[in-house]
């Protein structure tokens, strides 16, 4: 079994020299009630500045009401090599899907 791996981009964070600010992944909540959605990544010296950079880079056009930033190196990602064993077994288990209910037509928002 392969080790859980860091996202590839995390290696940027360890590069030396003037471009050595760590990489942060940015999540934006579009409006109240929605989940935070990953929108991209950026460099920043620390979490506070990452939030501010996130504001400047990803919410210039009123895209959000809330921001999360997470150090890219703190994310543990599944490996492409494990894709089959992770995800394929779900394909034929129809009983996991809520497809056996009759939904009355006049029920909204379902």
């Amino acid at each position: 079994m392969s080790e859980p791996r860091q996202p590839e981009s995390a290696s940027v964070a360890t590069r030396s020299g003037e471009r050595s600010w760590p990489l942060w992944e940015v999540f934006v909540r579009g409006k109240r009630g929605l989940s935070h959605v990953h929108v991209g990544s950026l460099h920043a010296p620390d979490a506070e500045m990452a939030l501010r950079n996130g504001r400047d880079v990803y919410t210039r056009r009123q895209e959000g009401v809330s921001l999360w930033v997470v150090r890219a190196s703190d994310i543990t990602a599944s490996s492409p090599d494990e894709r089959d064993s992770f995800f394929d077994p779900a394909a034929d288990k129809v009983y996991r899907h809520p497809t056996f209910y009759d939904v009355p037509e006049d029920v909204e928002y379902l």
């Binding site: 471009r19 950026l42 460099h43 500045m49 501010r52 950079n53 400047d56 880079v57």
Partner: protein, 257 residues
């Protein structure tokens, strides 16, 4: 003169000088794009510059409406010569290192925070309208500058030294921002403007607090200070700034896209 005419003659030059401060600093901040420490900082400084440009557009438009010449924002920005600009020297100083820029932004945004907070109650609808929107913008500018001053001041030995040097280089230009020029005095008397000197206590207290927290020192009283911007007397870099800012508009008069 009627009350209305007094108002008009007072507000036009006041809007012009506030607009010039914002316009010229926007031009300087635009120079950072592709020159910041990271592309993220290019974006941040570009955003600050665009906020200021937005303020300048409304203020210059207002000045052109009221001064009797009917000039548009573009004509005021691109077709005036150096002596007709009314900005303070602080904003026209050339882009230097990042420490200098953060020191300049800290002082300018601390000044603008007080300015726009007070202008919300201006008797001139356009000025109060700009202020309502700008208060939130400049609060963010001040926050951005503060965070950098803290990090650079309380960072490495070199960043501390360069941030301190930035504060020292900005110091001679600070007094001019808070000087009660004739135009501001008249605007304040008419209820349309703010006395710059009234903004000094809060702005300087804010800067002192950030500087202390950043383990830096407030510069000693400068041995010289800038003056004359509000009268159209500028420092040497201003001509070069205008040349760059205006040359396209002057080379292609009336061009649109």
């Amino acid at each position: 003169m009627t009350d209305n005419a007094v108002h008009t003659s007072v507000v036009a030059p006041y809007a012009l000088q506030l607009g010039d401060d914002a316009l010229v600093y926007a031009q300087r901040l635009g120079e950072w794009i592709s020159r910041g420490p990271q592309i993220e900082e290019d974006m941040a400084l570009g955003n600050v510059g665009l906020d200021l440009l937005g303020q300048a557009r409304v203020l210059l438009t207002r000045a052109g409406e009221l001064d009797g010449t009917g000039r548009t924002e573009d004509e005021l920005a691109y077709l005036r010569d150096e002596r007709e600009f009314r900005n303070v020297h602080l904003v026209e100083q050339p882009r230097s290192d990042f420490g200098f820029e953060m020191a300049r932004m800290l002082w300018f945004s601390a000044y603008q925070c007080g300015l726009y907070a007070a202008l919300v109650d201006s008797s001139d609808e356009t000025l109060s309208g700009v202020a309502v929107k700008a208060v939130k913008e400049v609060d963010y500018h001040r926050d951005h500058a503060s965070h950098w001053v803290l990090r650079l001041g309380d960072g490495t030995a070199e960043s501390h030294e360069r941030m301190q040097a930035g504060l020292e280089r900005v110091a001679p230009y600070v007094a001019e921002l808070f000087e009660d020029d004739a135009v501001s005095v008249a605007a304040a008397a008419a209820g349309a403007g703010v006395l710059p000197s009234s903004l000094w206590p809060a702005a300087s207290a804010y800067v002192e607090r950030v500087v202390a927290e950043a383990t830096l020192a407030m510069p000693a009283e400068p041995t010289w200070r800038s003056r004359g911007g509000r009268n159209g007397i500028h420092s040497r870099p201003m001509g070069y700034l205008l040349a760059e800012m205006q040359h396209i508009a002057r080379s292609h008069p009336g061009a649109t896209w």
